[in-house]
């Protein structure tokens, strides 16, 4: 059985999977950030080998926990919302489905004609708008294709809602909890091993900006005194 490039590429087809694409890209960004922060901690010359044995694994564990929690939760929300939408669509009568599909098709055509981003590179040509009308509307009613597209886009839109909800919960709630609590334990661990880390206040994160902020009074903290991981060290 030979390798089929076309089928392989199609696995990554983003159509109907916008929520998943958003989830994967955000998780990839978080992964890169976690990895770079942990590598930065591992490569930091100011940190002793003994401290690295503690900091680096903590960074890895915190990073994995944070990303895994975010990914699992968001995937669950996306799947649930897609399921709910499928159920609701199945409960619609054919007339209701046609009416809603027509509403969406007309809104789409209207947006293409007068939309905010309908300029420059993204300007819709008259041929394009004509093609849209022909594909989506049969007279004043949605075509079969438009109905099929409506079902797909509604589920896809619901998956985007899920991705957004997951990103908000993950970024604004899960990340601070995981980061701040683990930072506390990492800090206490460091202090136990080396009392000179008992300075007030400490910075519960590491990022390249650390070097710069050392200039300010309250933020005068040694490079060693950091938490190895946080996705905030690098914003992806």
């Amino acid at each position: 059985m030979g390798f089929d490039l076309a089928k392989f590429v199609n696995n990554f087809n983003p159509e109907g999977k916008t929520g998943n694409v958003l989830l994967i890209l955000n998780a990839a960004g978080m992964l890169f950030a976690a990895a770079s922060n942990t590598f930065a901690a591992a490569a930091d010359k100011n940190t002793s080998a003994e401290d690295k044995k503690f900091l680096v694994p903590s960074g890895v564990v915190t990073g994995v926990a944070n990303i895994a929690l975010y990914y699992k939760l968001t995937q669950k929300i996306i799947d649930r919302l897609k399921g709910i939408t499928e159920d609701m669509l199945n409960n619609l009568t054919p007339e209701e489905l046609t009416q809603k599909a027509t509403q969406v098709a007309k809104a789409k055509i209207n947006k293409a004609e007068k939309g905010l981003f309908n300029t420059g590179l993204f300007k819709k040509t008259p041929e394009m708008i004509e093609s849209m009308k022909k594909t989506l509307l049969d007279g004043d009613v949605a075509t079969e294709f438009a109905k099929k597209e409506f079902r797909g886009k509604l589920k896809d839109g619901a998956s985007v809602m899920g991705a957004f909800a997951g990103a908000v919960i993950g970024c604004a709630i899960i990340t601070p909890i995981v980061r701040d609590i683990s930072a506390y334990f990492v800090q206490k661990g460091l202090e136990k091993r080396n009392p000179k880390f008992k300075e007030a206040p400490y910075k519960p994160y590491f990022d390249p900006a650390h070097i710069e902020s050392r200039r300010y009074g309250q933020l005068q903290i040694p490079m060693k005194n950091y938490m190895a991981f946080t996705r905030r060290g690098m914003k992806v």
Binding site: T85, M128, L154, M161, F164, V168, D180, Y202, Y216, L219
Partner: protein, 208 residues
């Protein structure tokens, strides 16, 4: 126990119904989200992070101080520093992140959509092997829609890679700048001396 389980199920069912009803009652808005790129996600995510994140940081700091009965209040103090940092990173990260994403996605979508018809047909065949063979000529709308979706996904992935570099070159100094300005305003140009003073005051309070 049984009642709880029934109540839970009713609660879940009611939430599910409300969400489902919202989706079906707002078909234009929800279906419109289908075309979203990582730019919208970044704005939603970082916008909420800028508002909720600092509150969370301070709340967690207070909770840790209370639970561990920490005497010197350092965790509480550092949570304020972290809260300012979170805000600065959300704001700075959003401005730079949205800019980088916008450039990458615009470039990728334009490349995918404006690609020559001959090359486009070839790519269309590769990208859509299972269903129909789309070209600009046989269905301009479907072809453009498909290419736009691919452009957004490719552009988003490209932006993630580009940001590995811009994070250090642009984000870090920019976030530092915001952090410095906000710290000066909120912490009133903190120095080692007044930090010590704050801690002494806190310790004295706790000793009482």
């Amino acid at each position: 126990m049984k009642i709880n389980s029934v109540q839970q199920q009713n609660f879940k069912g009611s939430i599910t119904n409300k969400v489902g009803k919202f989706i079906v009652d707002h078909p234009v808005e929800v279906a419109g989200l289908a075309g979203c790129s990582v730019i919208a996600q970044k704005i939603v995510m970082s916008g909420s992070e800028a508002v909720i994140g600092p509150v969370m940081d301070i709340g967690i700091g207070k909770a840790i101080t209370k639970i561990t009965k920490e005497k010197d209040g350092r965790t509480n103090q550092s949570s304020k520093v972290q809260a300012i940092r979170t805000f600065a990173q959300s704001v700075g990260g959003t401005i730079v992140g949205v800019g980088v994403r916008a450039v990458c996605i615009t470039g990728a979508v334009a490349a995918c959509m404006k690609i020559g018809s001959k090359a486009g047909s070839k790519i269309g065949e590769v990208l859509n092997p299972v269903t129909e063979k789309l070209t600009k000529e046989n269905d301009l709308y479907k072809y453009t829609d498909k290419m736009s979706a691919w452009g957004k996904a490719i552009g988003g992935a490209l932006a993630t890679l580009v940001m590995l570099v811009t994070n250090f070159i642009i984000d870090a100094p920019f976030i530092n700048f915001i952090n410095k300005k906000v710290s000066e305003k909120v912490l009133k140009k903190p120095t080692v001396e007044n930090t010590q003073q704050q801690n002494d005051t806190q310790n004295a309070k706790e000793a009482k």
